[in-house]
């Protein structure tokens, strides 16, 4: 989850409140963010994905002011109509754009840093690493409107990007520039997007890099902001978050006339209807009248109309333009709960009459474990993720390609498939434990997976029991005796038949049959396999399906 970092003094300035360690550590997380780090100067909070507005320092501070009861209702986000126009041509690679201008802003070091942080965080989160949206912030006075959003040929179009001293084509930027990796987003398209001004000066190559010309510095007074992307609603939201933050820093929001859209940004509050009964039903409370209204306003909403003392009444609530997460009345209910304080709710354990029922297979597996433990075996647990080397090669077997579950994006080469057998990992365990006292006796009941056309998820799960014992000397008959005792104790018939399984030694290996069906194998592990695993003492082992036993 994204993290915002604050200088504590700066946060105090933005909120007009002395922030003690206790407030920073205990009170602020009750607004819905995790504290990640705190020292004498700095504090870092993890912001939840539903509150991208809190990714900006100004937005975070704004949320705090409400939460501390210092503000209520939606602030006046008046916009001034400007004459700036943004024309558009068809840009297939990145069809959506919106824009705004901010005038008369004083960009201090801190404001500038905060702005960059907001931009970067929005790129990562709402923007899905710039794929869904990218924000460009420019010095308005270095260029001349109207601006044009258009698609150009990557190997023809040239400009000097930020952090470069020479003109580069878009293709060269992709290859050479440190931000060039973002051009990967465009690679399927023949033409790439750029924004230019009246005099064909380049402002930006979204979503990759701005031009050097429009670089924003501490001397910048007026800003032009563009947001491009693939979803109009998302880019408008991001623009609202940016402009409201800059407004909080003293800037004046000016509109830009975007061709085909009209004046932007659009900061009119959205409306949502909510039944007051629903609030109390979901929270188990009886919030009414002014108290309820205050809770709603102190989370930054406006309440439309008067509130009476009635429990059940549909009311309209206005959502501030920077809040992008309100989809359903339940989202308002949560904010009311947060305003009230999660720590202020009494807990109530209700009586819901139901009968307990355990999973029979789980119960039976526990009983099987008890029998094996009775023979002095230690239960182990291994990972489902493994690799072909361990599952097959070291066992002197060919990979079962046709039935193997393979990952599309393995963690690493050691974890690329799902296990279809349990025994190999037991040998891995023995290999890892050679320094530990002998004899070593271990077992596992493991879910093993393989492809299966019949089931909806195309996977069959088989429960398998694997047992292994190692000592300076082992005896093949000990493992047959163990199987015999195990099966007889459970009242199951079985039979043994010769096999050629190369994982075991000749004349010391067998398959286990149950009603003619092969359910497993046992024997003394072949020294070649022991060498593969670097196990230095002999091992007897068995593995069998236990589905029929369960």
């Amino acid at each position: 989850m994204p993290v915002v970092e604050f200088n504590i003094k700066e946060l105090e300035k933005l909120t007009d409140k002395t922030l003690t360690k206790k407030i920073l550590e205990e009170k602020i997380p009750m607004l819905g963010c995790d504290i990640e780090h705190i020292d004498d100067e700095k504090v870092r909070y993890e912001v939840f994905p539903n509150r991208p507005d809190m990714l900006s320092q100004e937005g975070f501070a704004r949320a705090l002011r409400y939460f501390f009861g210092l503000d209520k209702g939606i602030p006046d986000y008046k916009t001034k109509k400007s004459s700036i126009k943004l024309n558009r041509e068809k840009v297939k690679a990145r069809p959506n754009i919106t824009a705004a201008a901010i005038k008369n802003i004083e960009l201090t070091d801190e404001t500038l840093r905060s702005l960059m942080q907001t931009q970067e965080k929005l790129h990562k989160t709402l923007g899905r690493k710039r794929r869904k949206l990218a924000i460009g912030i420019h010095d308005l006075d270095k260029v001349e409107p109207p601006f044009t959003y258009k698609a150009v040929k990557p190997n023809k179009f040239k400009f000097t990007p930020l952090n470069s001293d020479q003109e580069l084509t878009l293709e060269q930027i992709r290859k050479k520039h440190e931000k060039g990796k973002y051009a990967e987003i465009l690679k399927e398209h023949k033409k790439w997007p750029v924004i230019t001004d009246k005099n064909e000066q380049t402002l930006s190559f979204p979503p990759v890099i701005n031009s050097k010309t429009t670089e924003v510095t501490e001397n910048t007074e007026n800003l032009f902001i563009d947001v491009t992307g693939t979803d109009q609603e998302t880019i408008e939201r991001a623009l609202n978050i940016i402009v409201t933050s800059l407004k909080d820093r003293g800037g004046e929001i000016n509109t830009v006339k975007v061709e085909g859209l009209g004046e932007r940004p659009y900061l009119e509050p959205e409306e949502i209807n909510i039944d007051l009964e629903y609030i109390n039903q979901m929270l188990g409370t009886d919030f009414r009248g002014e108290k309820l209204k205050k809770h709603i306003e102190e989370m930054g909403y406006d309440f439309k109309g008067k509130i009476g003392m009635s429990y059940s009444e549909e009311k309209t609530i206005l959502i501030p333009p920077y809040r992008t997460d309100i989809m359903h009345p339940i989202d308002i209910v949560e904010d009311i709960a947060i305003r009230h304080g999660y720590d202020q709710f009494n807990t109530e354990l209700p009586t819901v009459a139901t009968t307990a029922k355990s999973d029979k297979e789980m119960e039976k597996k526990e009983k099987l474990k008890e029998i094996i433990i009775g023979y002095g075996y230690q239960e182990v647990k291994n990972m489902v993720l493994t690799n072909k080397q361990n599952q097959f090669t070291k066992m002197d077997q060919e990979p079962a390609q046709e039935t193997l579950i393979e990952l599309e994006n393995p963690l690493d080469k050691n974890h690329s498939i799902c296990r279809n057998k349990a025994l190999p990992q037991l040998l891995k365990n023995l290999s890892n434990n050679q320094h530990v006292a002998y004899p070593q006796k271990i077992f596992e009941i493991a879910k093993c997976l393989e492809l299966d056309k019949e089931s909806y998820n195309k996977v069959k799960t088989t429960e398998k029991l694997a047992i292994a014992k190692t000592d300076t000397q082992v005896n093949y008959n000990e493992i047959t005796a163990l199987l015999d005792s195990f099966m007889k104790n459970l009242g199951f018939e079985y039979n043994l038949k010769k096999t050629k399984n190369p994982a075991f030694m000749k004349g010391r290996r067998a398959v286990i049959l149950q009603q003619g069906e092969e359910i497993g194998k046992l024997g003394e592990i072949h020294p070649k396999v022991l060498n593969n695993w670097e196990i230095e003492k002999p091992v007897i082992a068995m593995e069998m399906k236990i589905d029929k036993l369960l």
């Binding site: 539903n50 979901m282 359903h328 339940i330 807990t347 998820n457 195309k458």
Partner: protein, 421 residues
Amino acid sequence: MYKLTKEGKKYLTEKELPEKQLVKKLQEEPRSIEELKKELNNLDIAVNWGKRKGLIEIEQGKVKLLKEPSSYPEEEALKLIKEDKEKKVNSEEIQRLLERKLVKEIREDVVKKAKNQIKGKGQITHLTPELIQTELWKEAKFKEYNIKALGKKKHPGKKHILTHYVNKIRRIFLDMGFQEKTGPYVESSFWNFDALYTAQDHPVREMQDTFFTKKPEKAELPDKNTVKNVKKMHEEGYEDSKGWGYEWSEEEAKRPVLRTHTTSLTIKALKEIETPAKIFSIGRVFRNETIDYSHIPEFAQVEGIVAAEEMNFKNLLGYLEEFYNRMGFEKVRFRPGYFPYTEMSVEPEVYYEPKEEWLEMGGSGIFRPEVTRPMGIDVPVLAWGLGLERIAMLDPDVMDIRDFYCNNDLELLRNKQIKLE
């Protein structure tokens, strides 16, 4: 060598020979078998030997004394044998005692072995079956052990540490009236994400968070109606909800994943089950995380669900408090949290006495209407979940999460103390 059997010893010490007991009962008058049966335990042996020795006869169901012997030779013989004076007993008498199973013969080789063992004046290490049978141990001197010295180290066969935790938690849920559910590791994105209202471009659905399978390539979607409802909810919402507002892809929903939470099986179970319902599951889940001492790409998730009329936020907190109390954490507190499929979302924290600090202990919330509506669930659903390893990691013996799965350190597993709680 001959030794008294258990029966022989009995007749010599506590009780008399059966025929002698019988003779005593008949001194006044003949008596009926029925009566005698009640008074003598082994009347058949007594009658048999009484007859063979010509002491009694039976007439019309009555036993009559013929003569009273002056002595019983078996008594003398048993006494001599007991005192190891068997040479004074004639072989005919010994045969009779063997026949009556009052003495047993100890084979010559056994006696020889036993004698060899006690030969010389050295101390004997092992008490042997021969010494016990021949009772020659009486003449032996046994070596004394260092009573504090330990023999070869013992290792019990045990359940894995995590199994103990799993069973403890299963017990808690069952005590609270919950029903246990299980489900497959490989799940369609539909059940793992879409049914839980996680938008198809949500970061959790990216490769760096979730394992997708190359094989199988595609899973099947459930019935058309369910798919239609979920699609509609994502695209345009339903009733009071706005939805996410994007074009929902059926192909994306078919992509199989290693389940990232057990909520995939819970939501499926909820669709089938009648409410009120309380269900729980404990099962392995998978996250694309690099392995280190505190991270592992697979771990066990515990999940509890309550679906019933009129459930509310206070009830959720009530269940959380009860559950964590039963887990052994006396103090529980709540903070706001975020999950795509719950609202309100809660992060419970428990007070951990040994470290004197509050610990995050999983996540919880009430399922969003966008989750429950498409499944036809019209009651509030309370849900909470936590990683089992997080609890197990509180154990000071466990420094490294890899000890659970990757390494199976036998030293740790064997020596782990079992808390009898």
